[in-house]
Amino acid sequence: MAEVKKEFRVKSGGYDFAFDSKDIRSKDIIRKADDELHILHNNRSVMVRLLDTDAAGKKIKLEVDGERFEVEINDSLDLMLEQMGYSAASSKHIKEIKAPMPGMVINVAVTEGQEVKEGDRILILEAMKMENSIIIHADAKIKRVAVKAGQPVDKGQVLVELE
C-alpha cells in the first residue's frame, strides 16, 4: 500500500528534529511490550519506555537510557499554524540584565545614567550562601536600576535596564 510522505517536526529535550514518515519507517524498532520499544540506532541498542501520551499521540513522554523526555510532534498543518502565529507576534527588543538565578541582592554598584564599561560589576547577588558578581559584558549606559540591596529576586527577573 503506497502512502504519502508526511513531514514532521519533533521537539524533544529542547532540540528540534525534522523527519518524514519514510525516515521513520526505515528505522529498526521493535515492540517488546505495551509500553516498551527497542531501537537499534547508530549501532546503539536502547530500550525505550513509554510513560504517557495524549489521545492523538502528539505529546508523548518516554524514557531513554534513564533519561525522561517529553516529546511534542507537529505535522505540516501544525507547523503552518505555528508559523502564522509567529509572524503575527511583534518583536520587541529590550536590552536588560536579568538574574541568572534566584537570590538576594547584596549591593548595587551602579546608578541610573551611569556609563559602564565591559567587565564592570553591576551588582552582587547572593545565592546559596555564595556571593556572585554580576558583570556586564559590553560597554553601556544604565537606563534604570530595577532592584535594590536586600531585595530577593527570582531567576530571570530584570536587574538593570540598559540604553
Partner: protein, 491 residues
C-alpha cells in the same frame, strides 16, 4: 541521654534522628517557617519552629534552641554539619546550660575552627604543611606582596572558613583586590569573622581526608581515608573510600598523622583531618573539620560503623568498643552529592519543585535525602537534595552500581548534578584513578553532556514518532471520540 534535639534540617537531620530512634532515644526536630512539611519534622517525636526562613533567624539562633531544650527536657544536642556545628561559643553555651553537646569540646573546636590556630597547634608534631602565611590579613597591598613572594597562583582562605565559602583562587596581582573583598565579605557573612590568610595554591592537588574517632579516655582511631578530589567551586561532589592512590603504607602514615592532629587539641567525637596530596603523593595538613562530614556515609559503608551512634556513645561517656587493629576496609564505597544545580549552566542553582522524585533501591545502594515528591527546594539553604551512595566488593563494581543507580533515580522539575555524576563515573580519568581537584577544569565541558542528551533526545523523538504513526493507523473514528483526552499507559 533520653531526648536529643537535632539542630539542623534536611537529610542530615533525618539521618541523625534515625540513629537516635534506633538507640531508643526520643528526638526533637527544629524547623524554620519554610520547612514545616520537611521529612525531618514529620519523622521526629517532637518538633519546634525556630522562626522565619533565613537561617540567621532560625537555624543559627542558638539561644532559642537552648531555650527550647530546657522547655522540652532535652539532654543532648546534635548539631549535624553546617549551621551551628562548628560554633565553639554555641557549644560552650550548650555545655553551660547543662546539656550534652554531641561533638568535640569547645576548646578543640576553637583551635581547629581557626585555620591559623590549627597550624600553630600541630606545629610541634612535625606534620607537613603548605607554604603560606600564618597570620590573618585584610590589606590588599600586603597580600600582593606575599603572593609575589610565594608565587601565583595563591589561595585566599577564610580563617574561619569551610565548604568553599570565603575561598578564592587568585591567578594574578590584578585580581587580588576584587577577590580579597569578596573573600572577606563572604567570610564575614558566613562565619562572622572576616580574617583571611594566603597560601600557595598547590597545582594538581588531590584532596584526601582521614576520618578520626576519639573517646574521652584517650583512645583515638582513624577510619581510613576518603578521596574527595572531584569538586566544583571548591566544593565536593563525588567522594569515595578507599582512595585509588593511597597504598597501605601511605594510609598508615596519613592515619598516624591524623591521629596526632586530633591528639594535639585533645579531640573527642568524630572529626576529619583534611590533607592536600601533590602529584608525588606527598601529603600536607590542610585543616581539621570538627563535625560529622557530609560524606561520612562512604566511611560507614566500608567500616560497617554508624558514626552518629559512635558520637552519641562517646558523648554519654562510653569507651570505644574497638581498637585500630580491629578496623578493616570492606570493599569500596562511592558517593554522589545530588545538588539542585544545572551542570549545563556553570552549576548555578536550579530551584524548583520536585514534580517527580523516585529513589533507586537495592543492595549496596543508600540514599540519604530530606525531600519528597512535590516539595520545593527553598533558596535559603544549601541546594543539596540528597547523597547517593553505592557499596560493592571493589571499585569497578561500585562504579557500575552507581551508574545504574543514577539511571534509576528519577528527579523531574529541576536540574541536578546527576548527569555530571554520570560524566564523572564514565570518565577515563576517574576510572583509572588519575585525577586531581582540577577534574572539572581539565575534563568537563557541558557539551559532552549535551551531546549525549541530544543523542537520547533523538532516539526519543524517533520512537515517539513511530508510536504516533502506528497510533494514527490504529485509531478508528469511535476511539477518536473517547472523552478521556489522555491515555495513560501502564508504568
Amino acid at each position: 541521654m533520653k531526648k536529643i534535639l537535632v539542630a539542623n534540617r534536611g537529610e542530615i537531620a533525618l539521618r541523625i534522628m534515625r540513629t537516635i530512634r534506633k538507640m531508643g532515644i526520643k528526638s526533637v526536630a527544629v524547623f524554620s517557617e519554610a520547612d514545616r512539611n520537611m521529612p525531618h519534622v514529620l519523622f521526629a517525636d517532637e518538633a519546634v519552629c525556630l522562626g522565619p526562613a533565613p537561617s540567621s533567624q532560625s537555624y543559627l539562633n542558638g539561644d532559642k534552641i537552648i531555650a527550647f531544650c530546657k522547655e522540652l527536657g532535652v539532654d543532648g544536642i546534635h548539631p549535624g554539619y553546617g549551621f551551628l556545628s562548628e560554633n565553639a561559643a554555641f557549644a560552650q553555651k550548650v555545655t553551660d546550660a547543662g546539656i550534652t553537646f554531641i561533638g568535640p569540646s569547645p576548646y578543640a573546636m576553637r583551635i581547629m575552627g581557626s585555620k591559623l590556630a590549627a597550624k600553630e597547634s600541630v606545629k610541634k608534631y612535625n606534620i607537613p604543611m603548605v607554604p603560606g602565611i600564618d597570620t590573618a590579613i585584610e590589606d590588599v597591598n600586603l597580600a600582593v606582596e606575599i603572593a609575589n613572594k610565594i608565587g601565583y597562583p595563591v589561595l585566599i582562605k577564610a580563617s574561619a572558613g569551610g565548604g568553599g565559602k570565603g575561598m578564592r583562587v587568585v591567578e594574578k596581582a590584578d585580581d587580588m583586590q576584587e577577590q580579597m573583598e569578596r573573600a572577606i565579605s563572604e567570610a564575614k557573612s558566613s562565619f562572622g569573622d572576616g580574617s583571611v590568610f594566603i597560601e600557595k595554591y598547590v597545582t594538581s592537588p588531590r584532596h584526601i581526608e582521614i576520618q578520626v574517632l576519639a573517646d574521652n579516655f584517650g583512645n583515638t582511631v582513624h577510619l581510613f581515608e576518603r578521596e574527595c578530589s572531584v569538586q566544583r567551586r571548591h566544593q565536593k561532589v563525588v567522594e569515595e573510600s578507599p582512595s585509588s592512590v593511597v597504598s597501605d603504607e601511605m594510609r598508615q602514615r596519613m592515619g598516624e598523622a591524623a591521629v596526632l592532629v586530633a591528639k594535639s587539641c585533645n579531640y573527642t567525637s568524630t572529626g576529619t583531618v583534611e590533607f592536600l596530596v601533590d602529584d608525588k603523593l606527598n601529603f600536607y595538613f590542610l585543616e581539621m573539620n570538627t563535625r560529622l562530614q557530609v560524606e561520612h556515609p562512604v566511611t560507614e559503608m566500608i567500616t560497617g560503623l554508624d558514626l552518629v551512634e559512635e558520637q552519641i556513645k562517646i558523648a554519654r561517656g562510653e569507651k570505644l568498643s574497638f581498637t585500630q587493629d580491629d578496623l578493616r576496609i570492606n570493599g569500596h564505597a562511592l558517593e554522589l552529592r545530588v545538588y539542585a544545580e544545572d551542570p549545563l549552566n556553570n552549576f548555578l542553582p536550579s530551584i524548583g519543585t520536585l514534580t517527580t522524585y523516585q529513589k533507586p533501591q537495592g543492595e549496596g545502594i543508600r540514599v540519604d535525602d530530606g525531600y519528597e515528591e512535590g516539595m520545593t527546594i527553598p533558596i535559603y539553604y544549601d541546594p543539596m537534595i540528597a547523597k547517593l551512595v553505592t557499596h560493592d566488593e571493589d571499585r569497578t563494581k561500585a562504579i557500575q552500581k552507581m551508574l545504574q543507580a543514577i539511571k534509576d533515580y528519577k528527579i523531574e522539575g529541576l536540574t541536578t548534578t546527576m548527569p555530571f555524576g554520570t560524566f564523572v563515573f564514565e570518565h577515563e580519568a576517574f576510572i583509572s584513578g588519575k585525577f586531581d581537584t582540577h577534574f572539572v577544569k581539565n575534563y568537563y565541558t557541558p557539551e559532552k553532556i549535551k551531546e549525549k542528551q541530544k543523542a537520547n533526545a533523538e532516539i526519543a523523538a524517533i520512537v515517539a514518532l513511530k508510536y504516533h504513526l502506528e497510533l494514527q493507523k490504529q485509531l478508528t473514528p469511535l476511539e477518536n471520540k473517547t472523552t478521556s483526552w489522555k491515555r495513560r499507559l501502564a508504568h
